[in-house]
């Protein structure tokens, strides 16, 4: 066989699904693997107008992902994922087909990733299960240390108290880390259920600031809350999650600040959205690390040097929560001057 003859044979036997659309988005070619993955046969597909193709239930998620509309350009997709059936997850990639004559069409490749998805799910379940299991011994430690400190188990010396307080705080850090891990695994599972209702941002901010009272006092931080004189309109949100998202900003503004530093929380709004900003006079984020700030487990080099604690999960969680509400997160920062973190939530 020569090169010309073998090409159709390759396509017919290719282990991934292949679909080819012409410049007008008509379906030109479907290989057997694509048919198998979509559960359709050639008769169902070729020469059908797009409107009909989109109506086929298995085709719908694919059509939506690649933006299959008459007359519009098929989207560039790099490893988008779609679920066509229970237990079947496909990775979709599109590529423009060009030759000297210009654009001839679009290639769509379907690759099965069901097993990878299952492994991902098992990993998430494992993290969730471990985290819950870890809470039991951590509770035992917390309760015992607390009872020791409260004198319930006999008198302790001042020196003993000082040491035990340190272990108590260390244990509390572990408990917080477990919470963060659980939140992250829930985000990945997609079971971070959102209970959306109309709510007020102001009292949420005030309650969060109240939670950090002790730490604010300990570090002598001056906290200012700037808000418009009139009452802010309500926003459609999962209040518990938004409070967590805000708390992570506030936590960072305090944690990475200097003794006697300043934190300014400001609220503003317009017809389209509400914007919350948390500004601090802390250590800031080095320019070369700024693009990774919202990544899971990321902690900048300058905080590692300082020896401050942190899980590296707070901003990842905040970004997920805000984006799931249709909002945006962003920040400005200068090393040794401080940072300002923002999030916006769309108004109804």
């Amino acid at each position: 066989m020569d090169k010309q003859e073998i090409l159709p044979v390759i396509i017919a036997n290719f282990p991934d699904g292949i679909l080819v659309f012409d410049e007008k988005n008509n379906l030109l070619l479907v290989n057997p693997k694509a048919e198998a993955l979509l559960g359709l046969s050639t008769g169902d597909l070729t020469n059908k107008p797009i409107s009909e193709l989109k109506n086929l239930s298995v085709f719908e998620p694919l059509a939506e992902l690649i933006g299959l509309e008459a007359g519009s350009k098929i989207k560039d997709v790099f490893r988008g994922k779609i679920k066509t059936k229970e237990n079947l997850t496909l990775e979709v990639t599109t590529a423009s087909l060009n030759n000297d004559g210009g654009k001839k069409g679009t290639l769509v490749v379907l690759h099965e990733v069901t097993r990878e998805k299952m492994i991902e799910r098992m990993k998430t379940e494992f993290v969730s299960l471990s985290a819950h299991q870890l809470r039991t011994p951590l509770s035992a430690i917390k309760w015992t240390l607390r009872m020791l400190l409260d004198g319930d188990l006999g008198r302790i010396t001042k020196e003993q108290k000082s040491f035990i307080e340190k272990i108590y705080r260390s244990n509390e850090r572990m408990i917080f880390l477990i919470n963060d891990l659980l939140n992250v695994s829930r985000i990945e599972e997609g079971t971070y259920v959102y209970k959306v209702a109309l709510g007020d941002i102001e009292p949420m901010v005030e309650s969060a600031i109240g939670l950090y009272k002790e730490e604010i006092k300990r570090k002598k931080i001056k906290v200012e809350f700037k808000k418009p004189k009139e009452r802010l309109p309500q926003v459609r949100m999962d209040t518990e999650k938004i409070e967590l998202a805000f708390q992570n900003f506030l936590d960072n503004a305090i944690r990475y600040n200097h003794i006697g530093g300043k934190v300014i929380v400001s609220l503003k709004y317009d017809k389209k959205e509400i914007e919350v900003a948390v500004k601090d006079t802390g250590i800031g984020i080095p320019k070369d690390q700024q693009d990774r700030v919202f990544s899971r487990f990321f902690r900048a080099a300058n905080v590692m040097r300082e020896g401050t604690d942190g899980t590296g999960l707070g901003l990842f969680i905040t970004k997920n929560i805000i984006e799931a509400h249709g909002g945006k997160v962003w920040f400005e920062s200068e090393e040794n001057k401080g940072s300002t973190f923002y999030f916006s939530l769309p108004m109804e």
């Binding site: 035992a140 607390r146 009872m147 259920v193």
Partner: protein, 134 residues
């Protein structure tokens, strides 16, 4: 003893708390704290024993873990609520499961509170008990 202190003590006196918890150490820790605060305690290591102790000791409040060998805490809770002899006893869930669905399920089944063990100190648990038995 001043009159105020007398009546406070009378509030706590004779109140029995049933602890249904399978972890021995945690069960003993919270039991110890309760006794120090003047409560009487009754203990069960699983749901079946819990139901038995309900009849025997007639507690004023139940601290209920969810993950138990045999029947789980949710089952114990629904059985309590189905039985007129026990349905009025306040139940505080003390668990390390903390998913929103679990909390909702527990409260829906009739628990008066849901506390994650790792997030509360024994003293804070006592405060919650005092509020529930008021």
């Amino acid at each position: 003893m001043s009159l105020v202190r007398c009546s406070l003590f009378a509030d706590i006196m004779e109140k029995t708390i049933l602890i249904i918890e399978d972890d021995k150490f945690l069960r003993e820790l919270i039991g110890q704290k309760l006794i120090k605060e003047g409560y009487k305690t009754s203990e069960a290591v699983d749901g079946e024993e819990g139901m038995k102790k309900l009849k025997e000791d007639k507690p004023d409040l139940v601290l209920l873990d969810l993950i138990l060998p045999g029947i789980d805490g949710f089952e114990v809770l629904s059985r309590m609520k189905d039985d007129p002899a026990f349905s009025k006893i306040p139940v505080i869930i003390l668990s390390n499961l903390g998913q929103k669905d679990d909390v909702e399920k527990g409260l829906k089944l009739g628990a008066v509170d849901y506390l994650i063990k790792a997030h509360f100190t024994p003293g804070e648990i006592i405060d919650k008990i005092k509020k529930a038995i008021k």
